[in-house]
Symmetry: D3
Subunit: 340 residues, 6 copies
């Protein structure tokens, strides 16, 4: 059991039930989630001591988010309670050729305005093993970008391994803005996760020519890109999940990892139907981290890919799976036979 | 933005949730819909001034139907409030090899008994661009058939383009009855929409030998039939959607259009899973009308086919889509990637 | 209309809605079911006089189970009301590569403790045509195994045909225990139903080498096994359903029957999506029994396979289908076109 | 356990959830009920052999109604399956000063068109103890009124006790029509149930001056009216429930019975909140019948009043209570303490 | 039918179902509402031509709000589509001694940033009869306060009657801020609505000494205050609803009106249970406006009080009642008897 | 913030929605709760370090219970994972004169079979302030009674204050059994909580003659009984909540406390409607403990009574309230005015 810290935003998610469009819904399903919170939830579910750092407004909706974190087994001792609002997003779940759509309403959320001194980083990173963050957090605001930088410095000072998920979001910033903020932060990173689109927009790397809509993957292109990323930034590991989008409810899914020596490629999963694909990338990152901490890169990429695949079958942002659930899939049990 | 009138019945639809059979349901999902109302809803959603003509009983269930029309942006100024009952139908949604089933309880609905003078057709058709009706309305009753005839005469007198969707319904009348009533009405029609089954039963045209259950389409047969229909009745356009039924939740879908010169064939959509296929034909008709009014036949058939395809992914009778939604699919975005 | 008796346990089933995991559910869907009750429900639905024998605690949850049986048209006159508790099981419905899981909480249920004299077997089997039980009941407890033995004796004494579904359950007993109890009971059986796994664990027969996960069926192996079973135990018929598990929501499905002369193989069904696969084996057994009683073995295997296929599309344990529904599928209507 | 027959209509009831108005509802709660079916359900729940006579269309909605009857333990052997439609009604549940409202859509239902020879009355009434009907059935149609008359004749010929609930419905007929049809039918009746409004409109008796809205009951007036009714028609018993309407969710409730010698007055119940008052009168009639069959008039009026009071706390038309439940209330347990 | 304009904010309202606390909810009920939108909805329901002026973001949640307005019959032709977000609020419905609570998240909503030239006031107020706004709108932002001022000027220039509901909101501004902004706006107002708390905080008037928690109303004090308000600002009418809060689910309710000559006092309503009290003040204002437009002050105060009382029984912000519904209550039908 | 330990059983609770009877429910609402878990949840909600000791089976339903504990902020570090099953109970919520009913199915639950060495009591009670248990736990089994005894010994050895809630349960044991087990355990107890019924059945004390159904409380009788209890067992405090049951949805509620010097009587609450009264006694105990730890007996009895009153308005077993919520009610805010 490792001590793992993640830092970021948790939002209220409001999704329409039964494939209804936004304009049809008379109820919204309530979940709470966000990239780094999702990673903390997965890692707590795998048995680690997962600490999530964020800021939540001191009202009952903020408390509801906090309770969801606690329910998942996350250590919320260091969550700051301040700020005016909880960021939120609306999710309409697509089907077949109708895509899912997301509407963000997250500007000026508590974490985007949280001061650095809201977190006692020396206490937090003491004896910690891992720190994970994503490119979403520095995109929220200048102060959030600064918070990430300070956290990275402190983590490094405590000898903590750092992973990042680039997670480029068009609605939060431009590629130029992203590059300006993210490039210097890469110097702290040991494990870099990002798909071809992220790598291009955030770090300016030309991606492989893969047409993700058609499913033909240029694996050599990925390998070349991963090598270049590793060389440029000195990452220990470069990883990516790869999604082939056949429709809103049918995807292919696999993952790649490069450790400087070997280029690991996971099994491919054919996911049909997809119940909820939000958080699949976070589930992959969590599985990869778990695998790297507890076993080998070869295991880590399979564990991460399987964890990410399972997330597609589970409602909500959090990946509600155990190590046992993931191992069962890693070991080949894809048949879905009833366990009784 | 065109002024478009549709005339017909809107029913209460009671459907079972969660793939339950009728005998299992402890709740029914409530929707309101009907062929011509569905077309009006789609066209209002595309930005047109859509007027729906019908009659609704002057009680709260009638008012609920009216509010649903208004919510969709339909102009309900000319809806008559009279009659004893709102027609209704029960819908059990099938899955895999279990078909969806419909039980009608629509006899003696308000519109089937509405008098001609309930509608001020001269006011209604003044400056109008298009009038759409379907073969369901004259099948309801003699008075409804008469109403359609008068409406067609008035529309023609005002120079309004007229489209029909043949929409043969076994439970409402026999082929002989349909032929007797529908054939003379064809003289008013500019744009005729109907699949091979409709054409045979309503107009007596021998359809192509296509086995719709197997998916092999005899396109030459359709072309021949469309030419014959056009020549016989003088239609400007003949169009049809084509459905290949693999199962209750998996269909193929495309559409054809003939304008006397060219024979247009849309892209084929593979729809899996189907969320709700009721109203797909109406969605196609609406898209076709929108395309013919605003652009070219080549655009119209693609726009209609895509609109119809999207309807399969949306609960309820109404196609809750915007022009932007349909264009996105026309332009090839079938991958269902999350829009964020 | 035949008089048919089944004997066994009916449980409360608590399932999670909307593909939620157990740890997410804030409501459970309530159904009542169990192998032999499911068979009685199907047969009542086919128009037979179906009597279910069981014991239910004399409280309102027991009464709720009873009302569900009555609703299905089952004759509950002989249900004993005693015991402390209704057995129950929790069901989490899987999706794609995530399997469904079952947690049993059925120990010390009313039927597992019911005394033999709770049932007036001479009255019950008088003029009866068929008696069906499954391997689950003797696995519940020693007293339940004894109850089955007495019932078989009485049924035989009244000249009633007896069928069994082996239904091996790992969580209830070991193969050795099963063999010790079940082997002597086989002497009463006329129609034996069991898949390759059941035959091996319960009766010690080496199954065909078929890899059910991959879908290649060794039909010759089945034939050989069926012949051996028939010869060893003197069964009139040996039958099995065959499931190919592609995923939790996508299965292949067919059935086999051997009558000593011919080896019958049903059509194969591709079931996608699966709505609820619990009770499919019971639905097959019911269809087979109906077919054998009313028609020929050739018809019986097709009717049974189609009945079992349809069950996959219906929520709950009971197969809510009529003879007409099944015949429609037997006759080839797999296209799922709306019936209107 | 007595053999009791009731005859009438069972309808689909569609009610809005959560105090929504008709125009707000996106789902309807599904129940099946109707005066005489409700009485049969109560009496079956009290342990009697209750037979319900009606006609249901031979489609799945008709079957759903049938299954609800069976679930309640009613003998449905004699239910006719014919006709075009199941009558239905919409129910909006009021609260505080907003009244509940009902919209009927029951014209031309199966039972209103059922022929007399659909029922083998000699078989049905053989060894029967009681026949109950209400004034709703003859109000449905001429043929239904004739059916009631024939049933009464047959019941009398078999020596069966007959009870009626006058149940005047403004929306079905006028007082004059009611009087013309109902007065001759009174000659068959032994037990007459009807409130002051019914007695006035159906039988032309001047009611007591009680202002039911204010709650002051003129008991002497009732006694006088009951005596006059008894003398005029030769009833053995005259009974009535009395409701004081404070609001849609708060009522007072009691009942009166006259047997020619004594005038019995039940306890008064203060019911707040009311969960569902539909069927309370039927629950009262059922309790009264049970009491008269099994005990004394003094017991019967208390049992009937308590049964009716309990119905107000139970969703749906049927009174889901046991003899034990009712006795507990009769014996004074009104405190609602948790039973654990 | 009058032409009536209202201007303000419409928000998404997210409420917990079944009396759950915020921290328990796994779904939120979705409604859209806000003071001035609620007034427009009521007036449209009473048959007036009600125009609502606001600004909604050009995304699907904004469109959902728009559709709700259209469904209610409101003319949305002049709704501006711009801005970043739809304001929202969370509502937890209390019970007994647990109060309902509201959490606002409405800062920087579209209407708070809408420019004056988004509305063509000359076109809007042409031939208009009435303009209604509330103290919430100028409290949103400086630009919103300016918008209200311009609208008042334009309305006055077109001879339109202006009403205001003071609606003081602690969470939006301080009494000093309110006074500074609102006092000059009073010069445009003809009909002033506000309770004693509003009058004190917004206009600085010392309220009557009434203890609203105890229910003893100092009517003379109200009269004195109303007279002073009228004299100071030259209002034609001063009105107020009066609420006595016994608990979250039990209130008393009445209303007062002063026209310079008479002091009108409505009936008192005892509302128990309350289903949803949000929007009751808006419902009162709407009823008052309807009454003043169509009849006399004496009628108006009763119609307004009854409309407001009914709102307490209806879920959501909008008062889903017709003139007929309100008249029935005005005329004394408080008994809640079922209408059938 | 005190360190407080509670020990007992947590069960799955399955309750019917919408006042449905058990036999009507097609879904059950899922909660997890039990006396001592409820106390831990309340105390965690008040900001204390609350540790719950129990045993949960190592399957997903056990994990679901665990997650609910964590969500409430309870420290679950010492929860044992072993045993076969989670105890459960069925709850039907009554209304008006229909009582709520409970059906237990808790025999042989994990905690009833947990060995003493599953808990490291020395570690658990180190620096602890308070230990709370109830009479339910020793009633479960001999081993559970032994576990409680050992826990009390260990707590005493660590100088921890011990409170008990007698909580007599008829369905678990007889008064004689209770007396035999509970009397010796009283020697460890500092704070004894129990109503008059508990005191009589568990400790053999003659209760005051109060008729709890009628609401007249014999306070002098309580005082005398409390004094006798204190003298006999040497309790520091004796406390009781007092409930007056008017109906299932309307109760009076208050509380009493005796500390050897003063006899404290809280305010009386009139609770109408009751949303969920399960756990109100536990909520009272929690409030009392909080009050005694942080303030005075006079404060404690008011805080406990208010906490218990609020529980009646909240669904589920846990009292979802903060110190602020309770203080607001203690300070007199019973009016339920919306907080906005």
């Amino acid at each position: 059991m490792a001590k793992i810290i993640t830092l970021g935003e948790i939002m209220l998610r409001l999704s329409t039930p039964g494939f209804e469009r936004f304009t049809q819904a008379s109820t919204f399903r309530v979940h709470y989630g966000g990239g780094e919170a999702n990673v903390a939830a997965s890692l707590a579910g795998f048995g680690h001591h997962a600490i999530f750092l964020s800021s939540l407004p001191d009202h009952e909706i903020g408390t509801a988010a906090l309770k969801t974190l606690r329910e998942a087994g996350i250590d919320t001792s260091f969550v700051d309670r301040s700020g005016e609002r909880l960021g939120l997003y609306y999710l309409e779940t697509g089907a077949s050729m109708r895509p899912s759509t997301v509407i963000y309403d997250r500007a000026r959320s508590a974490i985007s305005e949280a001061p650095v001194d809201a977190f006692d980083f020396d206490l937090i990173f003491k004896d910690a093993d891992w720190f994970h963050w994503s490119g979403i957090t520095p995109a929220l605001s200048r102060s959030a970008a600064h918070l990430v930088k300070v956290a990275c410095e402190k983590a490094k000072a405590h000898g903590v391994t750092i992973s990042v998920d680039l997670n480029y979001r068009t609605k939060l910033w431009t590629p130029d803005q992203a590059k300006a903020v993210m490039t210097p932060l890469m110097s702290y990173v040991d494990v870099m996760i990002g798909n071809e689109e992220d790598a291009e927009r955030v770090l300016g790397f030309k991606p492989p020519k893969t047409d993700v809509l058609q499913g033909q993957l240029d694996l050599d292109g990925y390998k070349t890109m991963f090598q270049a990323l590793k060389e440029t930034f000195g990452f220990s590991y470069v990883a990516s999940s790869l999604r082939t989008s056949y429709s809103a409810t049918h995807n292919g899914w696999k993952a790649l990892l490069y450790d400087g020596n070997h280029f690991y490629e996971s099994k491919t999963y054919d996911i049909n139907p997809i119940i909820d694909r939000v958080g699949a990338g976070d589930a992959f990152a969590s599985g990869l981290i778990h695998g790297l901490i507890t076993a080998t890169p070869a295991f880590a990429i399979e564990f991460g890919a399987a964890a990410g695949a399972l997330k597609h079958t589970i409602p909500g942002d959090f990946n509600q799976v155990s190590v046992k659930d993931v191992l069962s899939l890693v070991e080949g049990n894809q048949s879905g036979r009833v366990q009784r």
